[in-house]
Amino acid sequence: MGTITVPIILEKLKEGYDQLEKFDVIVVGGGLAGLAAAYTLAQHDLEVLVLERGDYCGAKNLTGGRLYINPIRNLFPDLWQKAPLERPIVREGVMIMAAEGSLAINYTGADLASEPYQSYSVLRAKFDRWFAREVERQGAAIVTKTRVSDVIIQDGQVCGVRADGEELRADVVIACDGVLSLIAEKAGLRKPGNAKDYAVGVKEVIELEAGLIEERFGLEGNEGAACLFMGAVTKGIFGGGFLYTNQNSLSLGIVVGISDLIASESAVSIPALLEEFKQRPEIARLIKDGTSVEYGAHVIPEGGAAALTRLYGPGILVAGDAAGFAMNIGITVRGMEYAMASGYYAAQAVLKAREKNDYSVQALSSYEALLKESFVMKDFLNFKNAPLALSNPRLYSHYPELINDIMADLYSVPAGQKERLYPTIRKYLNWREMLAMAGDMRKVMKL
């Protein structure tokens, strides 16, 4: 008879969960925030239950595709070595698209191209599933296929959740249930979101041979590239396109502000935008011979610091997208590292509250203090003007067309005499234009 290899969680179940009456912590949602919280708590031997509504962790999660490691490397020092990340991003690109042309800027440098790499492309179904395993190894229990429908509130204190008709109790609940956070809503920490604070992202994963990816993007081996697109890609609506190289696929998509989309006169639908984006010659040649294998969409919080929800209440903390921790500052769009970090700090706050066995609002307020000391809130306060600066519609139609017109003229060699370069540029930049530009610049300078 062979030996039974019992995962740690089973041993813990034998020891501790006999009554199954109460956990130390229940985490709602097994995405990055929830798993980061559970990972940290389990490392400190707390009894943690993660409830995930998907078939597996990652099944309901969608990202554009890039995780920046630097800010969170030391929060989870043992995690990165074996993590199923796709490709380290060694080439950054921005493409400004006009209706009939585009200007591309690529950046690559020693800082990007050497270890430790600052960012990686990721596919969440793979990454989160793997992360969930690591969390289980630390001793947390994860139950999938389970939707939490409500919180249990007793004497004003959240003390558990209802899931599939069952009541499950804990000292504290961490809501990591994503951008809509129905749980934080039920706990009275937030109201349904306002369209101006949210964008919607749509994305196709396009399978493409690794060799072709490397050839088309000028990459060596496992290196990866990222590119953001602005301008005609969204038909002048606030937003942009993105493209990330994965190991054997490309993540190609578009993000647009929901309120801008509603208000847009052009009345374009999102699927049509993505399809036109794919048919742009600049993109078509990159995805040629690729096979679409998945089409996904997700709402993204983009309201910045002003749109963050209440981060904690009696017996409850909110982390990740659920709290609004995602940020668009134009050249980078980030969410996943804020999710993981906020999950980590939520766990730290719980550990602190546990010392005094006090899970009141006051006791859990250390969560906000910890976030304020960390890159999370520092970034959010630093970039608090980003949503306003980026909401300028001229960024998405006027300037892309202008820049492309100038480029077209600068590079054209007519049959006759070619005009001098400076007058060519000045032709486009009259005083009125320059004045408007200076005004827009002032807003962008707040970034």
Binding site: G2, L20, R129, A141, V143, E166, E207
Partner: protein
């Protein structure tokens, strides 16, 4: 009373996609076959009506089985007996039958052995019958209902044009249809408790079966037939009708 439910670990069929005409199995979550889950449900229902019943979950496969089996223990299995060997993942029905029969011999006083009538992936429908033969036990197949009275089982057996009601002396092997019971969805508490339920694991050596036994049947190709679509694009129904006519697919 001891009821053994034999369950096969298979990939979640809904998660499989086709690439270059072949199924992509990498990273596909594992589960048990749908009919096997119904067999387990039947066993649990018998346990609920009879009392004093122990439901064993028996399975053979790769080491992921230890994780997959939690699902069955959550849905009402009392104890698991798992034969674990990487070579068992894609093994032939005849080998699996030998392994399962050997496993059942390790368990004491087995009264009833339930199988799904076919597995969720290969659907050969052979393993139940082979095990009955190896253990020299009576076999009833295609069961829609099972009632136990003492050491006898009354079984409703569904055939194409009729139903038979049979009586069989226990111990016996019964293969069941999915109609026998809708598998229950375990609660969170049941899932957590499943982790505490006992599991025995055995390797092929423990059962006196040599590992790496080659399959007597070798699959040369199982590609889906290639279809040559003409990929004709039409702009409107009139054009569609024209095209169909010109291809002689509809009458003029």
């Amino acid at each position: 009373m001891n009821i053994v439910v034999a369950m096969k670990q298979i990939p979640d069929l809904q998660q499989i996609r086709i690439s270059n005409r072949r199924p992509v199995l990498q990273d596909v979550p594992l589960t048990f076959g749908g009919i096997d889950k119904s067999a387990l449900e039947a066993a649990v229902v018998l346990k609920e009506s009879l009392g004093e019943v122990k439901v064993w979950v028996l399975s053979a496969g790769s080491e992921e089985l230890e994780d997959t089996v939690k699902e069955a223990l959550a849905a009402g299995g009392d104890e698991a007996y798992l034969v674990i060997d990487q070579s068992l993942a894609g093994a032939d029905s005849s080998i699996i039958a030998q392994v399962l029969a050997a496993g059942i011999k390790q368990l004491n006083d087995v009264d009833l052995i339930l199988f799904g009538e076919g597995s969720g992936d290969n659907y050969s429908g052979q393993v139940g019958a082979r095990v009955a033969r190896l253990l020299e036990l009576p076999l009833v197949s295609y069961a829609r209902d099972i009632k136990i009275d003492g050491d006898t089982a009354q079984v409703v057996r569904v055939l194409e044009d009729c139903e038979e009601v049979l009586e069989v002396k226990l111990p016996a092997v019964i293969t069941v249809l999915s109609d026998i019971g809708e598998p229950r969805i375990p609660s969170v508490t049941q899932i957590l408790k499943a982790g505490k339920k006992p599991k025995q694991t055995a390797e092929l050596d423990d059962l006196g079966i040599s590992a790496g036994q080659s399959n007597p049947v070798i699959t040369l190709s199982n590609l889906a037939p290639e279809s040559n679509r003409k990929r004709i694009v039409v702009k409107n129904p009139v054009e569609l009708v024209e095209k169909l006519k010109s291809e002689n697919l509809i009458g003029g």
